[in-house]
């Protein structure tokens, strides 16, 4: 493993997703349909990252009471929904996960 080329390749790949579009699209108007679609980017992407981590185990559905991630996620959703407090959601969610995992 050549560490220099690993870092170089990953850095270029990441910058390619972050910088060019930010520069080019700050200089022209986006069609309104595109802007409406962009509204759904953050929730859709976050949900797509989270769902497989929480609901699958080695590619198979994992819907059980001993799935600590599932139980703690439900608690985190409830706290976030009722309080909208991000810090509280993170701290209590993480504590619930560690506690549930220690129990089962």
């Amino acid at each position: 493993m050549n560490e220099f080329w690993l870092l170089f390749g990953m850095a270029v790949a990441t910058m390619a997703t972050r910088i060019p579009v930010l520069i080019t699209l700050s200089r022209r108007e986006l069609p309104s349909g595109v802007r409406r679609g962009l509204h759904y980017v953050p929730p859709a992407v976050l949900a797509a990252i989270i769902a497989p981590i929480v609901l699958l185990d080695e590619g198979k559905p994992y819907l059980a009471l001993d799935n600590a991630m599932l139980v703690a996620s439900l608690i985190a959703v409830l706290i976030s929904w009722r309080t909208k407090n991000l810090l509280l959601t993170i701290v209590v969610g993480m504590a619930a996960f560690l506690a549930w995992r220690a129990l089962f």
């Binding site: 493993m1 050549n2 560490e3 080329w5 690993l6 870092l7 390749g9 990953m10 850095a11 790949a13 990441t14 910058m15 997703t17 972050r18 910088i19 060019p20 579009v21 930010l22 520069i23 080019t24 699209l25 700050s26 200089r27 409406r36 679609g37 509204h39 759904y40 980017v41 953050p42 929730p43 859709a44 992407v45 976050l46 949900a47 797509a48 990252i49 989270i50 769902a51 497989p52 981590i53 929480v54 609901l55 699958l56 590619g59 559905p61 600590a68 991630m69 703690a72 985190a76 959703v77 976030s80 909208k84 810090l87 959601t89 993170i90 701290v91 969610g93 993480m94 996960f97 995992r101």
Partner: protein, 239 residues
């Protein structure tokens, strides 16, 4: 009119302050990344440098697991692109709100753009109407995330050299709970809820697609579902 120095400082600090909960959430994730980097066979220097020059938590996490599996560098770079492709959509969302800024500003703001700072900016920009206020606000959020990530990585590297089997700590759940805390307040109406359900279901069904492309497919279908749902249940706030 450009903001005065005290205005700049005020927006910069507000950006950093609004990011604080996410700094806390990034810590366990940075710790485990540092520890896994060492466990994968990367040198401590390369593990730390990746956090500085790539600065993309979930991509770094996947990359060290690929390194451990002996994956070729080119494949790791391509996977990094796919996993990070969501930033193209983030950049496209923020760009119209940063009109008129020079490349000297936009390039570093792009380099430091993460999920966390994007979500902070999407909300914080509502109260800041000029690109000049917004650039200082976003920079404050991004630099706070960046410094925090470097320190968490270093501590993780030190811990990884001392503690065996870091993957068994379960700290990757910190990413899940952080993203859930960002996601739930975004669900303001039925279109958003439907978008999220479709994206999650697609991600689950497409989990075995090569090179993690299921993530992009899920994002696209989630966006389309939200737009379709708007036709039936109009959005609660103007586009």
């Amino acid at each position: 009119m450009p903001p005065t120095p005290s205005d700049r400082k005020q927006h910069f600090l507000a950006g950093a302050r609004d990011t604080f909960p996410l700094l806390v959430g990034a810590w366990p994730f940075g710790l485990i990344y540092g520890a896994l980097g060492i466990a994968s066979g990367l040198s401590p220097l390369a593990t730390a440098a990746m956090s500085a020059v790539v600065f993309a938590g979930s991509a770094q996490f996947i990359a060290v697991s690929l390194v451990a599996a002996g994956t070729p560098v080119l494949v790791i770079a391509l996977t990094t692109f796919v996993v990070n492709a969501r930033h193209i959509l983030y950049a496209a969302t923020l760009a119209p709100q940063l009109k008129g800024l020079s490349t000297r500003w936009l390039a570093p703001l792009g380099f430091w753009l993460t999920d966390e700072s994007f979500v902070v900016a999407a909300k914080g920009f509502e109260a800041r109407t000029t690109p000049h206020e917004r650039k200082w606000y976003l920079l404050g959020s991004e630099l706070a995330m960046f410094l925090n990530w470097q320190i968490a990585t270093w501590v993780g590297i030190a811990a990884g050299q001392a503690i065996p089997d870091p993957a068994s700590w379960g700290l990757e759940f910190a990413l899940v709970v952080t993203f859930l805390g960002m996601l739930v307040p975004m669900l303001k109406g039925r279109p958003e809820l439907i978008s999220v359900l479709v994206a999650a279901a697609t991600a689950l069904l497409a989990v075995n697609l090569p090179h993690r492309s299921g993530l992009l497919l899920a994002a696209v279908l989630g966006i389309l579902a939200g737009l379709l749902a708007e036709q039936v249940w109009p959005r609660k706030e103007p586009a």
